[in-house]
């Protein structure tokens, strides 16, 4: 047995004392079921998997790891799309799927307290009877965990009006990488001192493990209206989006799908979108009934003026759910029209949407790689789905290149390399394109303040020489921070 193997064996024994023998997985075949998250092209079989059931158990697990200097990675439902929960071969994967109690629903104080493994949609289900809901609604809301949402600062279709997870979390109980149990934020809207909670949300599991989350609840809107508008192409649909926003309307959501994405959704869930549409928009408005009625009419008008050839208005909750079904299942549905695909995630200023889409179409035509487009149009958050067949030589590489080129495009238009899926392992190498060395150093210092030993989800978010090879931004010589003994490169 190697030295590291021996360490893991010691840990396995210690951890079974903490979480019980059926909470520790050490058998290779079982471990293999945890080798990847929602981004299946990166695979690493974890050294060990633990399934704690309480914050106290997480503390004990993290302390045991820290004592032996073993790396650990948190995982919720494993739906992340940037490889954030990719395990460490010689480390421990700490999975929160058994921490799924909703501890408190307190409508009077507009909040609920949940464990990190609770499924996003289950928070809304628990609050619904009181007339409240949890606003962040990633398309994966039926399965992703609130802990994962916090780590990724996830958003969804309704972020346009309601913001991301960070706007809906009041406090988090965190086990720090050194095994301390601390609260960041609290149970009220604002707390004194530095906004450490803000730093933690979106930290992709690199600053510790959330063990309790105080989420803010929102009142279920009095009225919701939803329409589906079909356009000849994305240009017309994009123009409609700009016109609606320019008019001062803030819809709860504006989502766009192009022809290829529609084809996939039809194949998967038979959503019955208007035939012959080159693009569809789903526009949803919510709020007080009178206001919604008024703005809804304006939205319809803008769609028609921009060239919509069919507009359907949802008559009831069922029809509204049908409109959304096509959109919400679009990523996974692409599996119906292509054996493999990359889900890209980039952000651009909304006004350049038509330009960027045209450039993507050109790139696609130039390389022969098909791209289906799904996006949160109101936010300028693009999700190009780059299609390929791994079995065909060269296709994977061409898709990878195109997908990277799309990110470059986003950056060149003043946008970002991720809107909501995070950096994880997948985009770590792109970070130097967006940030200067100084920026990255500051981030690294923050990370080290939480995790001096560098054992908490190492290798994610920041570029490492091994991961990124010769990509731009690779440093030469010893880094000043390293020389000063403040940081290690990992």
């Amino acid at each position: 047995m190697t030295y590291r193997g021996a360490k893991l064996a010691v840990l396995a024994a210690e951890l079974s004392a903490v979480v019980g023998p059926d909470g520790v997985i050490a058998d290779r075949q079982r471990l293999r079921t945890y080798e990847c998250d929602g981004l299946a092209q990166y695979r690493v079989v974890p050294g060990l998997v633990v399934l704690p059931e309480s914050a106290e158990q997480v503390v004990a697990v993290v302390r045991a790891c820290a004592a032996l200097g073993v790396a650990f990675v948190a995982r919720g439902s494993g739906t992340g799309l940037s490889g954030g929960a990719l395990p460490h071969a010689e480390g421990v994967l700490i999975v929160t799927s058994r921490m799924r109690r909703i501890l408190e629903v307190d409508p009077a104080n507009e909040r609920a307290i949940v464990e990190p493994g609770v499924i996003n949609l289950d928070v809304t289900k628990a609050a619904e009877p009181y007339g409240w809901y949890f606003a962040p609604d990633p398309s994966s809301q039926q399965v992703c965990s609130v802990g994962g949402n916090v780590a990724e600062n996830s958003g969804g279709a309704h972020c346009l009006k309601y913001g991301f997870t960070t706007h809906h979390v009041l406090g988090v109980e965190v086990v720090t990488p050194e095994g301390e149990l601390v609260w960041l934020g609290g149970t009220t809207r604002d707390v004194a001192g530095y906004d450490l909670l803000g730093a933690f949300i979106g930290s992709e599991g690199t600053l510790g493990i959330a063990t309790k989350i105080v989420v803010r609840l929102m009142r279920t809107p009095e009225s919701v209206r939803c329409l589906l508008a079909a356009f000849p192409g994305v240009d017309e649909a994009g123009a409609a989006v700009s016109a609606i926003i320019a008019d001062g309307v803030t819809p709860a959501a504006i989502e766009m799908m192009d022809a290829l994405a529609i084809e996939a959704a039809e194949a998967a869930v038979a959503c019955g979108y208007p035939e012959g549409a080159g693009a569809v928009l789903i526009v949803e408005l919510d709020g007080p009934a009178a206001e919604v009625e008024h703005t809804f009419a304006a939205v319809r008008q803008h769609c028609t003026a921009a060239g919509a050839f069919e507009i359907r208005v949802a008559r009831d909750a069922d029809e509204r759910a049908r409109f959304w079904k096509g959109r919400k299942s679009a990523f996974a549905a692409v599996g119906r029209i292509s054996p493999d695909y990359i889900v890209q995630d980039g952000v651009i200023p909304r006004t350049v949407l038509p330009d960027v889409l045209r450039r993507i179409t050109e790139l696609s035509a130039g390389t022969g790689v098909r791209v289906a487009n799904v996006f949160h149009a109101g936010d300028g958050n693009l999700h190009p789905l780059v299609l390929f067949d791994e079995a065909k030589p060269g296709e994977a590489q061409a898709a990878e290149q195109l997908s990277g080129a799309i990110l470059d495009l986003c950056i060149s238009y003043g946008g970002s390399i991720t809107g909501e899926h995070g950096v994880g392992i997948d985009k770590a190498c792109h970070m130097p394109r967006m940030f200067t060395t100084d920026d990255l150093d500051v981030m690294q210092r923050l990370r080290r303040a939480f995790d001096p030993a560098g054992i908490c989800n190492p290798g994610k978010v920041f570029p490492t020489p091994r991961l990124c090879g010769e990509v731009p931004g690779k440093r030469k010589g010893v880094h000043p921070l390293q020389a000063a003994g403040l940081a290690e490169q990992f």
């Binding site: 058998d27 293999r32 493994g117 399965v143 998967a268 996974a332």
Partner: protein
């Protein structure tokens, strides 16, 4: 392919496994994931294990354990946006496991006993006498009171708790003429468990079909459809049963084959896949599948002609997994129930979740099955309904047993019995009101 878990005879297909994009959307639909919260007992994890098996991982005890723990409820199939054919994957996997993996002696004995008994209507019927005696003699109550029952092996305890109170069994005739105009000639599967333990349901099914204009052919000596064997990976046995049943109903010359047990219906609709290598039977199997209908499916298709009488009851309808998930039959039974005047239909929370019966799953895995059964019963009790209607005998027994255990005995009945009561204008669940014609008495 010698290394690895599977041999060349229909391993789980790599192309089907590839359809899985690892999105996890199926996780919350899976009962075992809900119970244990671990990846290898989720659909995504099981598919990953199949993949590992194809890539060379051996068929180990732990791998087999996770395949065995799958209820086969198929809730993951409609939940999957990528259209992964999990049903086919797990069926092929189970057949490999049965062929290539040697279970412990006690497991082999238990399975041997189950498969000696259940797929044989005559053997099951032979048990009716002793069982009725056991129930009526007070022995059952005595065993319970003295807690002697708790000393029995778990599987026997479960079996004991499941058996419904037996009613008189009527031997059905081989031919029941259609009332009113004749709209179809249908063959009726009487089943094994349905026939032995719920003979009223079969009688009601025949009466409802006749009232709705179907001439009913009930071939004597029809065997088992092979559902339990098929769903447990006993491929050869399942094939033998399937061929015999195809022969039987082909000879009957019927337009449709009607089934009132969800598990049987879903297995029969798999015959084309099961017999895909059999050049003689494959085309016949396809034609057989074309003609196979669940009772609710056929009645909804034909549309009602028999007038309904009011039934002033509140019922909850339970989706049997093998109807809702495996055959996509959800609206038809509800539509038929809604059409009964006076009847109030309620929905059960977590409707998609399996009750834990799952063929012989509750006999092989009593603990998780009981947890699921109790969860279903608790959900059901929140509806306030006094009657539960479902389309599968296994579910009926499982949920009734859980409700009894929770101290809330329930009337559990079949859709056919409700329709029969409404058509005949008699109260539901009053066995004394069951007419003795056209059948004669027989125990």
């Amino acid at each position: 392919m010698t290394a690895g878990a599977f041999d060349d005879h229909h391993p789980p297909a790599a192309e089907l496994i590839k359809d899985c994009v690892h999105c996890g959307f199926c996780l919350p639909s899976c009962p075992t994931y809900l119970l244990w919260g671990e990846e290898m007992d989720s659909p995504r994890g099981r598919i990953q294990l199949m993949k590992a098996g194809l890539e060379g991982e051996p068929l180990s005890e732990s791998m087999v354990g996770h395949f065995d723990a799958c209820l086969g409820c198929m809730a993951c199939v409609p939940a999957c946006p990528s259209g992964v054919q999990y049903g086919t994957l797990i069926a092929d996997t189970r057949a490999q496991v049965e062929r290539r993996y040697e279970r412990s002696l006690s497991q082999r004995l238990l399975r041997g006993a189950i498969f000696w008994l259940f797929p044989y209507p005559r053997r099951l019927r032979a048990l009716r006498g002793p069982l009725a005696l056991y129930q009526r003699s007070g022995l059952s109550r005595w065993l319970r009171r003295t807690k002697l029952l708790d000393r029995l092996p778990a599987t026997l305890q479960v079996m004991e708790s499941l058996i419904p109170t037996l009613t008189r069994r009527q031997q059905l005739p081989q031919w029941v003429p259609a009332q009113r105009q004749r709209r179809a000639v249908v063959g009726m599967l009487t089943g094994c468990v349905q026939d032995a333990l719920f003979p009223d349901v079969n009688a009601a099914t025949a009466r409802v079909l006749a009232a709705e204009g179907c001439a009913v052919v009930i071939p004597r000596g029809q065997g088992c459809c092979g559902a339990l064997s098929q769903h447990s990976g006993r491929e050869d046995e399942a094939i033998t049963f399937a061929r015999a049943l195809i022969d039987c109903f082909d000879a009957a010359g019927v337009d449709y084959i009607v089934v009132n047990a969800a598990g049987c219906g879903s297995a029969m609709k798999e015959y084309a896949h099961l017999l895909r290598d059999d050049s003689h039977y494959a085309p016949r199997a396809r034609a057989f599948v074309e003609r196979t209908r669940d009772i609710s499916e056929l009645l909804a298709e034909l549309g009602p002609i028999a007038p309904r009488h009011p039934l002033n009851i509140t019922i909850a309808y339970h989706d049997a997994c093998h109807l809702a998930h495996a055959q996509q039959i959800r609206s038809q039974p509800r539509q038929l129930l809604h059409a009964i005047p006076g009847l109030t239909l309620t929905e059960i929370p977590e409707a998609h979740l399996c009750c834990g019966s799952a063929g012989i799953y509750n006999l092989l895995h009593p603990k998780p099955a009981t947890e699921l059964g109790d969860r279903k019963a608790r959900n059901l009790l929140t509806t306030g309904a006094s009657v539960l209607v479902t389309g599968n005998p296994g579910c009926s027994m499982q949920i009734a047993a859980s409700a009894r255990r929770l101290g809330h005995p329930l009337t559990v009945t079949h859709l056919a019995s409700v329709l029969d009561a409404s058509i005949r204008g008699v109260p539901l669940c009053d066995p004394s009101s069951a007419p003795t014609t056209p059948a004669h008495q027989n125990r």
